[in-house]
Symmetry: C2
Subunit: 219 residues, 2 copies
């Protein structure tokens, strides 16, 4: 059990950190901890449709600046820079061998459960969620990856580490870099977000949020 | 600063709880705390494209069982049952009066910043993220709502409260209930997920996850 006040303090502490202290590096233990909270995140059907690239090479970071207009200051200053990858249709489609193997060998489900769950997954993709289209399936898988994103930023804040989530990048150029410079098979993975970690230089402007009664309705 | 070991314990504690103890109710203080962590979650451009319905009425829960095939046991047993709503195009499109008003009055940005940020948001929607299509825009806004979802489940686990995220519902019927029984303007909001909170009855099967070296690559 963790004290509620301490948790809320971490949520208040977190902000989209625009520029990081280049002289302060996150320890290996701490970055491993942050990535563990991504790993332990939930996802629909438990399929973990993610992979995380931690880009530390100055050359690769410099290359990424060609596409990630929203990340330039973070690529220059972040202690750790993560690209959140999401699995594409060849992996995520209900009839992929990846999904079958995942249920059997990663989730360690008995064969009859694999069959049942596979049928449920097929029905779900064919339901009015309408996930047979590659883009819609990618967006659905990406939603799961945003759970992991939220958890990484929250857990970082809880140990005093700042973060900045980034959607400000050109898809086409980024995915070209992903393939040509980062060695990722872009038929199987696409970028859903980037997220930088480090320690703040400046204090943020006060957080604004709609009051709780504007976002909650009891029925 | 919160102890890393305690945080990881909470992540290990969290599981998709299938059935809750009907005799154990979450206190008002605790449910408010969980919802606060949704409220304080980050979102792209800080636009908070979410609303949360807490469905406590037995009649409405019973009604929801008509559409939410993946939620029946949770609708029967959860202490609190939340429907995560996501804003649709009439609110989220770059030229909506909602977005303009939000930047000015909720985010309290000066007029010149509102203009700049509005242009960036327009460019982002017109970029190769390709968000001019209503479904794609909804899915993008929903991704932000999954950050809040992750945070609610994590913060619940940190205070010993169980949860279950739910995508197992018929979109058409659920959105009909949303409109007709829950009084929500479905031109403006759609359901992205449901999530139940309460206290477990049964212990879960051991958590499976791919090992960390299969999901992280350093570059």
């Amino acid at each position: 059990m963790i004290d509620k006040k301490q948790i809320i303090q971490a949520f208040e502490y977190r902000h989209a950190c625009k520029i990081f202290d280049v002289n302060k590096k996150i320890s290996e233990e701490d970055i491993n901890f942050i990535l563990q909270t991504a790993r332990l995140s939930p996802s629909s059907f438990g399929f973990e449709p993610w992979h995380f690239l931690v880009v530390q090479s100055p050359e690769l970071r410099s290359k990424l600046k060609e596409s990630a207009w929203g990340a330039t200051a973070k690529l220059d200053t972040a202690s750790h820079f993560v690209i959140g990858l999401t699995m594409k249709a060849p992996l995520m489609k209900y009839n992929s061998s990846y999904i079958h193997d995942f249920m059997l060998n990663k989730q360690q489900l008995p064969e009859n459960v694999v069959e049942q769950k596979g049928k449920m997954y097929e029905a779900f993709q064919k339901s009015d969620f309408d996930l047979l289209d590659d883009r819609k399936l990618f967006d659905w898988a990406a939603k799961q990856c945003y759970i992991a994103l939220g958890n990484m930023m929250t857990s970082a804040a809880m140990i005093g580490i700042d973060s900045c989530p980034i959607e400000g990048f050109n898809q086409e150029i980024s995915n070209k870099i992903l393939k040509e410079d980062l060695g990722i098979d872009t038929r199987l993975y696409g970028i859903s977000y980037m997220v930088a970690f480090g320690y703040r230089v400046n204090e943020p402007r006060p957080k604004t949020r709609r009051p709780i009664n504007e976002i909650i309705t009891y029925k």
